[in-house]
C-alpha cells in the first residue's frame, strides 16, 4: 500500500518535469557520446588535458564520454521519479473517486 504524499498538481508537475528530463538528458547524453563540438564548453576541460597529450583528442573524448554517462544516469533517475509521480497521480485519482 503506497502512501500518498503529494497532491494532484504536484504529481502533474512531477510527471511533466520527469518526461522533459528523460527526453532532454537522454538526447544530451547521446550528443556527448558522439563528441559533438558544440558542447565543448560544457565538459570539465583543463589545460593539462590538451597539451601534454600523446594521443591528442583521447583525453577530451574520455571527458566527453564521462559527461555523457552522467547524463544517462541522471535520465535514469528521472525515469524513477516519473514512475513515482505516475503512481501518486493514480492514487490521487482513486482518492477522488472514493470521496465522490
Amino acid at each position: 500500500m503506497r502512501v500518498l504524499f503529494c497532491g494532484p498538481k504536484l504529481a502533474a508537475c512531477g510527471i511533466v518535469l520527469s518526461t522533459w528530463g528523460v527526453v532532454m538528458l537522454g538526447l544530451l547524453g547521446i550528443f556527448f557520446i558522439t563528441h559533438s563540438a558544440g558542447l565543448i564548453e560544457d565538459i570539465p576541460l583543463q589545460r593539462e588535458d590538451l597539451y601534454p597529450d600523446p594521443n591528442p583528442p583521447q583525453r577530451v573524448y574520455d571527458l566527453y564520454n564521462q559527461v555523457g554517462y552522467n547524463c544517462f544516469i541522471a535520465a535514469a533517475i528521472y525515469v524513477v521519479l516519473g514512475a513515482l509521480s505516475c503512481c501518486q497521480m493514480r492514487l490521487n485519482k482513486k482518492k477522488e473517486y472514493l470521496v465522490q
Binding site: A37, G38, P44, N70, I73
Partner: protein, 845 residues
C-alpha cells in the same frame, strides 16, 4: 470568414400582443438580433412590464436562499446539458407557487430544528450540572466528616418550605443556586460574588469536559458548572441578580440524592428522544433539499430567461391603435430567413391570430459591426478588437493577423526548444478543451491562457520554424546538414600550424582560403557560429537587416489593404490621391533601402567583403545628395537615387493637398474648370447619384441605402478637411521613418532572448556537467530541475509575454495605422447563452 464585416440592417418587427413573449423567446434561443431601446426616456420603474420583472426578482431571491441552503448541506446540484426553454406565462405562476411553498417549508423546518437544538442544549447542560454538583456535595460531605468547621451543621434535612435544602444556622436558611457559566467569565464572577456578598456565599465550580455550542453566538467554548451556597434570602436575591448579569444558565438544584437520580434518569430519556427527533428533522430537511436540488438548475435558467424576455419587452414600444408591440432590431442580412422562421415559430407557439412579421426601415445610423468567427479565429479576432472594433464594412485585419502575429512573435522568440515546449503546452490545452470547457475555472489568468490556446499553438509552431532558422535550441546549435566551414582547410593550406594554436587565444578563419568556406548552410544559420566569439557581430547585422525588411513589407501590406477600403466605399479618388502617394513615398525611400540591402548581400562575396560599403552611409548620402566621393554600389546609382528622392518629395504635396482640393472642386460642382451656373443644380443632383450608388447585394428589392463612410456633407468645410489631411500627411511621412525604426525591436528582443537563454545554460546547466566526482553525478538531477523551472518561468512566461506584447504593439500601431479606423460598435445579439448568471458567479451552481 470574409475580411469584411457582415451587413447588418435595421428591421422593424411588429408583434401582436399575445405571442410576443414566445417570439422573443425564440429569438433569444437563436441569438440573431440586437434590440434597440425604443423608450430611452422612460425610467425603469415606469416601464410596462415592471411588475413581471419584480416577480422574477422575487423568484431569484427565493432561488438564492434555496441554493445557499443546498450548498450548506453539501448536496451537489445536477446540471442538465440542454438548457430548458423559457416557461410560458401560465407556467410562471406554478413555479412561483412551488418556490414559495419550498421557502416556507424550509424556513419552518429550520426554525424547528433550532428550537430542538436549544432544548437539547439545555437538557445537556442540566445533566452536566447534576453530575458535577453531585461530586461537590459528596466531597463536601467527606469534608464534613473530617473537618471541624462543619460540625455545627447537621446533615441535610428536608425543609418543606421553599423547596431548597435548608440548613439552620443562626436562624438563616442555606440556599443553593446552581448552573453553568462560560469559562472565560468565571474569575470575574467569583470576584463579584465575593465583593457583593462579603463571604456569605461559597462558590464551588468545575469545568465541563465537553465543549458546548452557545446558540446565540454560535461559538463553541468551555463552560463551567458552579454551585453557590448562601445564607439568607437577601443574599439569595443578590446572587440571583449577579447570575443574571453574567448570563448564567440556572437550573434547579435537587434536594437529595434520590431526587437527583430521578431527574438524571428522566433527563437521559428526554435527551435520547430529542436526539431522535433531531435526526429525523435533519433527514427530512435533507430530503427536501435533495428533491429541490433536482429541479434547481432548470428553475434558475428558466427564471433568468424570463427576466431577460421581460427586459426586452420593456424596450419595445406599444402601438395602441393596432394593439401590438413594435420592436426595432439590428439583424444581419444573411440571417433574415432565420429571423422570419423564428417569428413564425413564436407566433405558432403563442397561438396568435395575427402572426408577427418583419419590415425593413431605412436608417441613417451606422449599424453595429458583426464579424463571424469560429473557435480558432475568435482568439485573433479578440486581440484585434482589443484595439478597436472595426467600422461598419471595413477591412478587418483579423484574418491576416492569424499568420502575421505568430510570425512576428516567433521572430522575437526564435528558439527551437522553447518553441517545442510552448507548442506541446498549447496542444495539450487544445486536445483537452472539451473537458476544460466543462470545468469553468474561476482563475482569471488560467482562463486568459486557455482562451488564447490557438494563438499560443500558432506562436509555438512558428517559433519552432524560426528556431530552426536561427539554429538555436536552448542556446545550442544543431548540426543537421554539416557545417559549411572547415577548420582543417586552414591547416592544409599552411595558414595555421600547431604553434599558431599554442600561441594565440583567438584565431580568425579566412573564407578566402580555398576549402575553408564551402558554401552556405542549406537551412538556417551555420552551427559553427555558436562557437565563434564574434557571433553577435554577425547575427546583429543579419537580424537588423531582416527586421527592416520585414517591417517595410508589413507596412506596405498595410497600405495596400487600404485600397480595399477605398474601393469598397466607392471612393475611387482616394486610390489616386491617398494610396498612390503613400505607397510611392514608402517604397521610394524604404523600399529602396530594402533593395540596397538585398543588392549588398548578393553583389559582394567574401573576396570583396573588405571593400563592401556601408548601406547606411549611402542612404544618408542620398538624402543630403552628396554622393560624389564614395564609389557607387552600382552604375547609375546617383541618377536613380535623385529620381527616387524626387518622386518621394513630390508625393508629399499630392498627399497634403490633393484630396482637399479635389473635394472642394467636387463641392463646387465642377466637371470642367468653367462653372456653368445655369445647369448647376441638375448637375449636382446627377453628380450625387453617381457618387452614391445603391447596393445590389440586397435580397429585398426597392431599398437604396447610402452607406459610404463619408457622405457628401451639406456644408463643406475646406479648412477642416485641409487640417485633417495635413495631420494625416505629417503622421504618415514622419511615421514611416519612426515605424521602420520601431521594427528594430524584432532584432532587440531576439537578441535578448538568445542571450538570456545562453546565460541560463552557462550558469545553471554547465554546473551540473562540470562535476567530476563519483557521487556528484546525482547533482545533475536537481540542476536540471532548476534549469527547467527557470526556463519555463523566465524564458517562456516572461519572454513570451514580452514578445507577445511587442508583436501586438507592432500590429496595433505600425500596421493598423496605415488603413484601419477601428471606431465601430460591436454587434451584441440578444442571446440567452450570453447572459451572465449571478449564481454561477457566486459559485453556488
Amino acid at each position: 470568414m470574409t475580411p469584411f464585416s457582415s451587413v447588418t440592417r435595421r428591421k422593424m418587427c411588429i408583434r401582436e400582443s399575445g405571442s410576443e413573449y414566445d417570439c422573443i423567446s425564440e429569438l433569444g434561443e437563436l441569438g440573431l438580433v440586437e434590440f434597440r431601446d425604443l423608450n430611452p426616456s422612460v425610467s425603469s420603474f415606469q416601464r410596462r412590464f415592471v411588475s413581471e420583472i419584480k416577480r422574477c426578482e422575487e423568484m431569484e431571491r427565493i432561488l438564492g436562499y434555496l441554493l445557499r441552503e443546498i450548498h450548506k448541506a453539501r448536496i451537489a446540484v445536477p446540471e442538465e446539458d440542454e438548457s430548458p426553454l423559457a416557461p410560458p406565462p401560465r407556467q410562471v405562476l406554478e413555479i412561483m407557487e412551488q418556490l414559495q411553498r419550498l421557502e416556507m417549508e424550509l424556513s419552518e423546518v429550520a426554525k424547528n430544528k433550532e428550537k430542538l437544538q436549544r432544548n437539547l442544549l439545555e437538557l445537556t447542560e442540566y445533566t452536566h450540572m447534576l453530575k458535577i454538583t453531585q461530586t461537590f456535595i459528596h466531597s463536601r460531605s467527606r469534608h464534613e466528616a473530617l473537618g471541624p468547621q462543619y460540625e455545627e451543621f447537621p446533615t441535610m434535612e428536608t425543609d418543606s418550605a421553599g423547596g431548597c435544602t435548608g440548613m439552620q444556622r443562626l436562624g438563616a436558611k442555606l440556599g443553593f443556586i446552581s448552573g453553568l457559566i462560560q469559562r472565560v467569565k468565571v474569575e470575574a464572577f467569583e470576584r463579584m460574588l465575593w465583593r457583593v456578598c462579603k463571604g456569605y456565599t461559597i462558590l464551588s465550580y468545575a469545568e465541563v469536559d465537553e465543549s458546548l455550542t452557545d446558540l446565540d453566538t454560535g461559538e463553541i467554548g468551555k463552560s463551567v458548572v458552579f454551585l453557590i451556597s448562601f445564607w439568607g434570602d437577601q443574599i439569595g436575591q443578590k446572587v440571583q441578580k449577579i447570575c443574571d448579569c453574567y448570563h448564567c444558565h440556572l437550573y434547579p438544584h435537587p434536594e437529595n440524592d434520590e431526587e437527583r437520580a430521578d431527574v438524571l434518569d428522566s433527563l437521559r430519556t428526554r435527551i435520547q428522544d430529542l436526539n431522535n427527533v433531531l435526526h429525523r428533522t435533519e433527514d427530512y430537511l435533507r430530503q427536501v433539499l435533495q428533491k429541490a436540488s433536482e429541479s434547481a438548475f432548470s428553475w434558475v435558467v428558466q427564471v433568468k430567461k424570463m427576466k431577460a424576455i421581460y427586459h426586452i419587452l420593456n424596450l419595445c414600444s406599444f402601438d395602441v391603435t393596432n394593439k401590438c408591440l413594435i420592436a426595432e432590431v439590428w439583424c444581419p442580412i444573411s440571417d433574415l430567413a432565420k429571423l422570419r422562421g423564428a417569428l413564425e415559430e413564436g407566433s405558432r407557439k403563442g397561438d396568435a391570430t395575427v402572426p408577427s412579421f418583419v419590415n425593413r426601415i431605412p436608417c441613417t445610423d451606422t449599424p453595429p459591426t458583426l464579424l463571424r468567427s469560429n473557435k480558432f479565429t475568435s482568439g485573433f479576432q479578440s486581440i484585434v478588437e482589443a484595439y478597436g472594433v472595426g467600422d461598419y464594412r471595413e477591412v478587418s485585419p483579423a484574418p491576416y493577423t492569424i499568420i502575421t502575429f505568430p510570425f512576428l512573435f516567433a521572430v522575437m522568440f526564435g528558439d527551437l526548444g522553447h518553441g517545442i515546449v510552448m507548442s506541446l503546452f498549447a496542444l495539450w490545452m487544445v486536445l483537452t478543451e472539451k473537458k476544460q470547457n466543462k470545468k469553468r475555472s474561476n482563475n482569471e489568468i488560467w482562463t486568459t491562457f486557455f482562451n488564447g490556446r490557438y494563438i499560443i499553438l500558432m506562436m509555438g509552431l512558428f517559433s519552432v520554424y524560426t528556431g530552426l532558422i536561427y539554429n538555436d535550441c536552448f542556446s545550442k546549435s544543431l548540426n543537421i546538414f554539416g557545417s559549411g566551414w572547415s577548420i582543417k582547410a586552414m591547416f592544409t593550406n599552411q595558414q595555421w600550424t600547431n604553434k599558431t594554436l599554442q600561441n594565440n587565444a583567438l584565431l580568425t578563419m579566412d573564407p578566402n582560403v580555398s576549402g575553408v568556406f564551402n558554401g552556405p548552410y542549406p537551412f538556417g544559420i551555420d552551427p559553427i557560429w555558436n562557437m565563434a566569439v564574434n557571433r553577435l557581430s554577425f547575427l546583429n547585422s543579419y537580424k537588423m537587416k531582416m527586421s527592416v525588411i520585414v517591417g517595410v513589407i508589413h507596412m506596405s501590406f498595410g497600405v495596400v489593404l487600404s485600397v480595399f477600403n477605398h474601393l469598397h466605399f466607392k471612393q475611387k479618388f482616394n486610390v489616386y490621391l491617398l494610396f498612390l502617394p503613400e505607397l510611392l513615398f514608402l517604397l521610394c525611400l524604404f523600399g529602396y533601402l530594402v533593395f540596397m540591402i538585398f543588392y549588398k548581400w548578393l553583389a559582394f562575396s567574401a573576396r570583396e567583403s573588405n571593400r563592401a560599403p556601408s548601406i547606411l552611409i549611402h542612404f544618408i548620402n542620398m538624402f543630403i545628395m552628396q554622393g560624389k566621393d564614395i564609389t557607387p554600389l552600382y552604375p547609375g546609382q546617383t541618377g536613380l537615387q535623385i529620381f527616387l528622392l524626387l518622386v518621394a518629395m513630390l508625393s508629399v504635396p499630392v498627399l497634403l493637398l490633393g484630396k482637399p482640393l479635389y473635394l472642394y472642386w467636387l463641392y463646387r460642382g465642377g466637371k470642367g474648370l468653367r462653372r456653368r451656373r445655369g445647369y448647376e443644380r441638375v448637375r449636382r443632383a446627377s453628380e450625387d447619384n453617381s457618387i452614391t450608388p445603391s447596393y445590389d447585394d440586397d435580397e429585398e428589392e426597392g431599398f437604396d441605402e447610402v452607406s459610404n463612410r463619408e457622405p457628401l456633407p451639406k456644408q463643406f468645410d475646406f479648412a477642416d478637411v485641409c487640417l485633417h489631411q495635413a495631420i494625416h500627411t505629417i503622421e504618415f511621412c514622419l511615421g514611416c521613418i519612426s515605424n521602420t525604426a520601431s521594427y528594430l525591436r524584432l532584432w532587440a528582443l531576439s537578441l535578448a532572448h538568445a542571450q538570456l537563454s545562453e546565460v541560463l545554460w552557462a550558469m545553471v546547466m554547465r554546473l551540473g556537467f562540470k562535476i567530476t566526482t563519483k557521487v556528484g553525478v546525482v547533482f545533475l538531477v536537481p540542476v536540471f530541475g532548476l534549469f527547467a523551472t527557470l526556463t519555463v518561468s523566465i524564458l517562456l512566461v516572461m519572454e513570451g509575454l514580452s514578445a507577445f506584447l511587442h508583436a501586438l504593439r507592432l500590429h496595433w500601431v505600425e500596421f493598423q495605422n496605415k488603413f484601419y479606423h477601428g471606431t465601430g460598435v460591436k454587434f451584441v445579439p440578444f442571446d440567452f447563452s450570453l447572459l451572465p448568471s449571478v449564481f454561477e458567479q457566486e459559485g453556488l451552481l
